[in-house]
Symmetry: C2
Subunit: 149 residues, 2 copies
DNA sequence: CGCAACTGAGTTGTGCACAACTGAATGACG
DNA sequence: CGTCATTCAGTTGTGCACAACTCAGTTGCG
């Protein structure tokens, strides 16, 4: 039976874990002068360059209200270029600059550092990821049913 | 072997899950006119009233930079009182108003709604909470070792 | 064609999260 | 007793996250 006690709640555990991981990234990403959300955008671009703002938003579940200023900062840091599409003037293509591509080298070691800090073996990581994905899916489905977009 | 691929990463799963749960709370807490962090403070006070700002901060791992304006908003909403201690003028005691106490009734149903949305049985919740707590602990220990307070 | 509906990016405003700081109150110690 | 370090709450500034909105560009459709 669920109660209103703070320490019963899975949600608080999730919130705490997420903040703890972000705090670790803050330290690790200091070298690269990136915040965690900026690092996520860079990850997406390192994986596949030349993306529309819309597509980055879909992958990270972030809207233009978050991405526009974030991309402006990445541009100011010299890491990405932004160009409107010729065939659709509404759309903006985001591309890595040479500096942005080069930064990938400095990021190579990060996943292992984070992995070590989490103290999970590969199985543990995979299991937890699967559970978290299922949880996200379930929660989003419930919310969308209750509060239709 | 950890890689820089976005969809490999446990951290992104954690970040996504945390945002999904917060988005669900946003809908559920609409009735109470509370944000999720405000709800956490109310939970802490419903559990034990009359707390110093410092103690709330310790329980929720939030500093005064976050709590001071949040408590100001809870006060403006008529839910809490804030009074400086007579024996230590630095400390501020946070107490529930009658309205704040009464709001608890409206919150009684929330844990079950969230539980249903997450689609986990009691065992699943307990297991996940344990894993998340362990993860938080491990990550915080690593970070504190690497970047001493 | 004409125009209404929609789409994509951006802006504005609110509220967290956190670093860095201020300033008053307290405590420790020679 | 004096003074120096510490503690506590609050403020300021930056950067997400998100709702609500604007506005130009595009599409659909009669």
């Amino acid at each position: 039976m669920a109660s209103l006690r703070l320490d019963d709640q899975l949600c608080f555990g999730l919130y705490s874990a997420s903040r703890a991981v972000t705090a670790l990234y803050r330290v690790v990403l200091e070298d690269l002068d990136l915040t965690y959300p900026q690092y996520l955008v860079m990850l997406a671009l390192w994986e596949r360059d030349n993306r529309l703002v819309k597509d980055l938003g879909a992958e990270l579940s972030l809207d233009s209200g978050t991405l526009s200023p974030l991309l402006k900062r990445l541009h100011a840091a010299g890491l990405v270029e932004r160009n409107r599409q010729a065939d659709d003037e509404r759309a903006v293509m985001v591309s890595l600059s040479e500096t942005g591509k080069a930064l990938r080298e400095k990021a190579e070691g990060i996943p292992d550092v984070i992995g070590t800090a989490m103290g999970l073996d590969d199985d543990g990581v995979a299991r937890m990821r699967a559970e978290l994905d299922r949880l996200t899916e379930s929660v989003n489905a419930y919310r969308e049913a209750r509060s239709p977009a």
